[in-house]
Symmetry: D3
Subunit: 244 residues, 6 copies
């Protein structure tokens, strides 16, 4: 079976991570999974939210949003509607949880890092591209804090990457593009730490419920994809950042 873009079922799209795409942000990258392009900015802010003050711990949070014409047809801006939609909320929360799972709050000290993931173009997998790129921007932001002597230890316990998997026309597939995702029977997003353990597994039956065997095949595919993304992240972080 050949996929719409000629990939094998267990093959990632072309992944590009352009580090330090922004000049002002303490960490940033433009992450691309095929035509999906997300601009990630990591902002270091002194101090922590009020409810965390005085505990000597840091905080990492995230906000995700799509530009109105990221999609095939234009969507209205949430800022104009005056409220954030459920999908935006849900993905923002997912990204924040994924990153916090690899952070040692005490080592971070009372610093906050805000990760903004803005989807410039969407072709499926925007949340997984966001998490994958966010790790790179986060690592650079932490490096910035280290250079300033603002850390109390090593806050990054591990790396984190994420990928989507799903069953399309009966075939389990890795890294779904939009047209695949929109016809998938089962859709799963997997967030995996650098050591191969799970941080988040979110599987949804879009059509018919799925059985245990399907779940296992999808998990295998997802672990394979995240292992490859881990290498891409390491390569990006190893390069001297060229900026845009």
């Amino acid at each position: 079976m050949t996929r719409i873009d000629g990939r094998a079922a267990d093959e990632l799209r072309e992944v590009r991570i352009t580090r330090k795409w922004l000049d002002h942000a303490e960490g940033s990258c433009l992450v691309e999974f095929g035509k999906t392009r997300v601009l990630v900015a990591a902002s270091v802010e002194e101090g922590v939210p009020r409810w965390m003050k005085g505990q000597g711990k840091g905080w990492v949070t995230s906000e995700y949003e799509m530009l109105p014409r990221a999609t095939h047809t234009r969507s209205g801006r949430e800022s104009r509607k005056g409220k954030i939609g459920g999908r935006t909320h849900e993905i923002s929360r997912l990204i924040g949880r994924a990153l916090r799972a690899v952070i040692d709050y005490e080592a971070l000290g009372e610093n906050t890092i805000v990760i903004d993931c803005d989807v410039l173009q969407a072709d499926g997998g925007t949340r997984t591209a966001s998490i994958t790129g966010a790790y790179v921007a986060l690592a650079d932001a932490i490096e910035h804090l280290r250079a300033k002597g603002a850390l109390k230890g090593e806050p990054l316990k591990d790396s984190v990457a994420a990928i989507s998997v799903g069953v399309v026309d009966g075939t389990p597939m890795l890294d779904l593009a939009y047209t695949e995702d929109s016809t998938a029977d089962t859709d799963m997003n997997i967030v995996v730490a650098g050591n191969g353990d799970f941080i988040e597994v979110q599987g949804t039956a879009e059509g018919v419920p799925f059985d245990r065997d399907t779940l296992n095949i999808l998990l295998d595919l997802g672990l394979k994809g995240c292992a490859e993304l881990k290498d891409k992240q390491a390569a990006a972080l190893a390069e001297p950042a060229a900026g845009k």
Copy 2:
């Protein structure tokens, strides 16, 4: 190992489903998982949202919310804040997806069923109690449509139930109460169809990432719990409804 309330690790809390708790709603129940109490109302509305008109299909959607003093300390009302929080959005969407997975839209005809899940008291598992009760209220609402001759077939393809599982102090457990949930390392919500297949699997590492074995143990526990809930649902639907 004994749990805080004396249960075995694989034991549900006492589950009560009081059908037709409301007089006006086409379907309703008060569902209780221990101290967690959710009032579920299923409302039948003629017609479907504008974007679905003329396709001969129905629609099922859900809204979840907590009363301000459902929790140990009072929370402000989202209506006063002027916006819905991310958690409320996320759970509302989850309940809707869970129910739609067992619905045949064509058999439902151009009818909408709105499921309101309002948490009167929260002690962990409010989303899983909501889904479990929502199936019962949905079944009664569909019965109401059938009695009116408004259906085109049998819209309910299967039943649906949901339960939480997690790892607390190293022990995998079924149906976490609030104090267990708030200290769990891994937290998972599982939505299962009557035939035992998965509708949704959402596992999150709250502390350290979890491995594949842990995932499998949690899935086993969740399937056991949902099978028991399926029987409770059937028993509730078999009784002549006594109302409050």
Copy 3:
């Protein structure tokens, strides 16, 4: 003349007050006037709003809201609309004023009690049932503060109850059910202290303006009803609370 449910014109519906219906709230009850059911929770919060600080006085406030399917047909949630409607605002303010009229702020000390009245089912008289139940929940919340030694005296100066009266098809009636209320020419809500004095009188001509004699008859009916409610409240507070 017989009323729709067989009552005499000056007869209350069956009134039930189930104390301590909630496990977490410092005071609570499920109050029922016939099919109207309101869940009342009294929450004790340390301190007072910023504008009252340092005066040594307490504060009592209230929020009222209806569940979407409390009514015969479903209403949209105010939290989703992003704003509170005029009716919700008005009733919330009325309940707060009614309770504050029997409170000695100095004796309460710098404590705040928030009374949440959530209408689970509506059949007329939701604001009067709310006030009547709120007194019971408030008394328990104050008892909680007393047990903690947090009071400076006796903050409850008297009890408070409320009832609706109106002219339906030319007949003055007590405690209108929804179908009566919606066809009433004159509609009045009366809030009365335990000593029989008025705390609030709100009469509205829905159809034709009403004369002084009618006003007096309605006031008589309302005073009779509130006297009976006062006994119900006392009985509820006298019982050892059984919880739900």
Copy 4:
């Protein structure tokens, strides 16, 4: 006992009604009760709200708001806060109800009249001045519709006026100014039709509950005040309007 501004207890402040203060509005006036100044505009709009269409009946509604510096110290604008406060809602609703009580919807035909009451300066009694002025603006707007031949009969069944009364330092008084109102024990707003019947009675115990005798004295005072206001309205409507 002399009042702060030298009035007798049963004396109105100086009342001025300047008709047709605005050039564009179909009806308008600047109504003044002492230093309280409200600009009232009555706007005629063709048709009725969607939920009333096709019934051959008209609609009258009202919106009340205060300019930010109407008061002694500046208040923030509700438009900037993004929401209407409870007091604004409540008074808007009261004005609308008061006017609708004297309107024959069928005679009005399918026309809507919107009454805007904007408080330019506040010194107590803004809601009663609004209602009193609104009747004058409404009468002119109806005259405008009559001149166009857009009426089906005489929509104005009677006039309507409103006044505040209260007990200040133990003395029942008519038409409270701000400093009187803010120290009143009992505060009542009375809306009266031209024939002397009540349209709305809203009495509130601000300090201690009030008894039946006090209620009766206040009602007498209010009826006296409304009778005088009725004459002022008639005089204003009798004059050839001079505009500003």
Copy 5:
């Protein structure tokens, strides 16, 4: 060429500035440019916004809004819509900038003056009338601060006035009325200091782009108009204020 109201092309409408129209505000006026009427209130508030604290400097800001029936047909209230429109925002910001250009913040001390410009009736030029009247109210508010001994010097460096100019049917004109403004090809608002220098120039091609010569003619007209307004302002400030 004769204008709609008989004016010459370079002639202002009748300008009236009624000082101290309000009793509570520290400075106020009703400013009229023909039928355009704006009520301006200057409110003195102790202290400055948080971001300016401790610098020993003051702040001047402004909010502009239109009453719903200021216009030929009624517009909905922004407070009901829950958001401020772009035009309201833009004009509020313009007025604030215009006033701040003639203020010496240090001499003002840590005081804030808020200028509210509420359009009671609109017939073109509401923003220029607002700025012109705002200067008068501001001068009185500063006088109030001076009388209290709250200033550190003379905060008013110069006066400020504003006028609209435009090209209507090929003719450059001063002070456009609404019907002129709505058909103008080019529309310009000019804010000028007492010394004749520009504070703001905002020219917009509504129809076809305009050339440098047209721009110069319009600037000449505007400077002429502002010089005349400066005299009107001085006259108003010279009079003993009569209030309304």
Copy 6:
């Protein structure tokens, strides 16, 4: 005098216009004025807003927004605040007006083009870069409509470009970078049609008011800058678009 980045006073920063940066949008570019980077997307939508229907004319509108970390320090998202700020509103309106000045609505037919300008990085001149890039994206969107045969003529009457000018430390300068803009005494944005006529002139005295000579020097500089931008636009549109 040398500028911070070594430019001459009348020299533009490096301008880059990367056409068709997006795959889905009908027209798009990434426009850069030095470090300022704006992603512009032109979306073609069938039909026009309701208030324009049936007139046979088209519509062009624009929305501008900044990503939260476009700036030196992170700003909160307007979507989270639930409202658009004044600056965002003002710039969105300016861009729309600028483009509409060169559009023949009748030739456009009943089509709407929405121009989204999202600032990915801000270093001064974001509104002028937006307008300059928007013309290129608009031209491509119109080309798309032409290719579909959806036009009634040639809707583009001319090109449009924009640039900022200002007086910094006494020196008039072209195309201010952020550090220059934030210390400028006078700040002006000029929008110029391809034929050299003005579409919009917005000059503001940030410090002291400016005289007529300064105004003229700034206009000269702005016209020079816009003429150069016109060439850049033409060059971009002449190239076969390479996409990103």
